[in-house]
């Protein structure tokens, strides 16, 4: 596949702590094609944000990329230094953070902040072109341009999140990483924003990685879904396949534990136990202590992440629950 904007190969990342290494991302591989929206879903602490930060090399000091490659437009960014990586950010890859307030600088107006990013990365644009672009971006994310001279604290939560999206789009990145952008918002605002994000992504034919712990949100915005558990990518397939024909026991559990307001009211399943501590994750398959199908091999050897059907990947010794 040549049209992959992003390719991640065998990425492993640890956080070094005083109690030992936290294995937050463990041997993960996936790719995202142009115009495609990939959803990453998993419970909190499973390493979603860690992956997002790795993709932009925005990791904290104690993070250590142990192995693997991150290819953005076929260029491996893992060995790049700070100055080189800065050329990638904004123009090729940009990020929407969970806490919009932290991503915005409170002492500048929203317009100033967007202009600053553009001056840095699109120096060929004239001032008039830039101003016009700010208006376009505001229109794109559904904000009235008359608010552009206001400060972030004058915005409501939903508006702030929109401003952050406008900023992330300002330099026309090839891929955008959205880390739980709607988690703090109310359903009605969330709904409007989700629709908007989806529309923008399709209109600009941009690649997107959408991260959320909310299974239903992922169903709304993604073409393909990757399910994460305890630092591992356990299953990845088209959204339709993940929701209707999941093969990994964790994915199945997750789907049947998630309540919905439509359809028949089926009994919600309780997954036994709790997610593991990544300081010393279980041996073998990390899900085996909670898995109903676990056998001896599951605790001894990590299952290979491989294709089990057309474009349906999973890492499991007993895919679909078979022996």
């Amino acid at each position: 596949m040549t049209d992959n904007v992003l390719e991640v190969k065998n990425l492993t990342m640890h956080y070094m702590t005083r109690k030992g290494p936290v294995s937050a991302v463990d041997n993960i591989s996936f790719s995202v094609a142009r115009g495609e929206s990939l959803g990453l879903v998993g419970e909190s602490g499973c390493g979603k944000t860690s992956i997002a930060l790795s993709l932009l090399k925005l990791l904290p000091d104690n993070a250590d990329i142990k192995q693997g490659q991150i290819l953005i437009n076929s260029k491996n960014i893992v060995p790049l230094n700070y100055a080189e990586i800065c050329k990638f950010r904004w123009k090729q890859i940009s990020m929407i953070f969970q806490a919009a307030m932290n991503a915005l600088n409170p002492v500048y107006t929203v317009e100033e902040q967007i202009l600053e990013a553009m001056q840095e990365h699109l120096p060929h644009l004239s001032e008039a072109e830039m101003n016009q672009r700010v208006d376009e971006l505001f229109g794109l994310v559904g904000l009235d341009p008359k608010f552009k001279n206001q400060y972030p604290h004058q915005y409501s939560g939903g508006m702030r999140q929109r401003a952050v999206i406008a900023m992330a789009l300002s330099c026309e990145p090839d891929i955008i990483v959205a880390d739980e952008p709607t988690t703090a918002l109310d359903v009605i605002v969330q709904d409007a924003l989700l629709k908007r994000i989806r529309k923008i992504q399709e209109k600009l034919n941009m690649a997107m990685i959408y991260i959320s712990h909310n299974v239903a949100v992922i169903a709304e915005v993604s073409d393909r879904v990757g399910v994460m558990y305890a630092g591992n990518l356990v299953e990845m397939a088209s959204t339709e396949a993940i929701f209707h024909r999941p093969i990994h026991p964790y994915t199945r559990g997750l789907m049947s534990a998630f309540p919905s307001i439509v359809g028949e009211k089926t009994k919600l399943v309780t997954l036994p136990g709790e997610p593991p501590d990544l300081l010393n994750p279980p041996t073998g398959c990390r899900y085996h202590p909670r898995c109903p199908y676990a056998t001896a091999i599951c605790s001894q050897e990590a299952p290979e992440y491989r294709e089990h059907g057309a474009q349906h990947f999973a890492a499991c010794w007993h895919p679909g629950g078979e022996a």
Partner: protein, 330 residues
Amino acid sequence: MEHSDILVNIQNLSKLFPVGGGIFRHSDVFVHAVSGFNLQIKRGESVGLVGESGCGKSTTGKLLTRLLDPTEGKIEIASEQGVIDIASLRGKKLKTFRRNVQMIFQDPYESMNPRLTIYDTVAEPLNVQGIGTITEREARITELLETVGLTPAASFLFRYPHELSGGQRQRVAIARALIISPLFVVADEPTSMLDVSVRTGVMHLMQDLATNLNVTYLYITHDLAVARYMCNRIAVMYLGKLVELAETEELLQHAQHPYTKALLSAVPVPDPTYKRSAVEIKGGISKPINPEPRCRFYDRCPLADDSCRDNPHPELEDKGDQHFVACHKI
């Protein structure tokens, strides 16, 4: 509804928070966080209170547990001592009455004193109310911890909250709320900070306890899907007012109030093939600061006309089958 069935009868409950003002200067601008709130809760049922953040759900919960003093209204609770209006209880009577009403909080990380062990946390209501001897208390705590799924209890008793996971802490919070066998429990978003794989367990636990210990819940949540599983009836709140109240499935299938419809249509569905109906409403939720005497939903309502502007906020009206709606247009 037979009258004797009713455990909690809330009538015309209001809470106004002054805006600005100070110690010596009284403000005449108020946030009408809860206003004219009427609700009857039957013994053994679980009523869901849903709405967007800032609509007054938590304030209602705090009024019912008397963490806040109501500005106006009655909260009648049918306890062993007869029906008592707790809205104006004070001092010793209030303290004794607190045995009947308890609360479970949202944030399992903040709802326990980090310097107290699990034992001390769960024992607190017993200590404060002076119930039982130390050995009796210990036995009761051990038994209840096992009931909420913290087994073996002995290995949890003397841990600190930070040594437990979120799900375990929420179980401790449930144990603390139930240790003095309350009749009525206000649960303010008890599962919204838990992960899916742990959340279901806590939800099931709360349901089991409701049947086994005969507890009545007011279940506050912003998540309608969770409310569907936890509640017999759902009450929808908007800017301090109830706008719709019905049996859970009735409300989900046949919502009538335009706000409820908008809310339902905005809930994402965990099924990529499902196409939701699009109901657009204008603007976002604001603060009910000295609201005009008209329908609170007027500014955002797709059905609104002049009569909605000129008449006061509509009362809840039974549209048949105990389905209550507060709307001039329906």
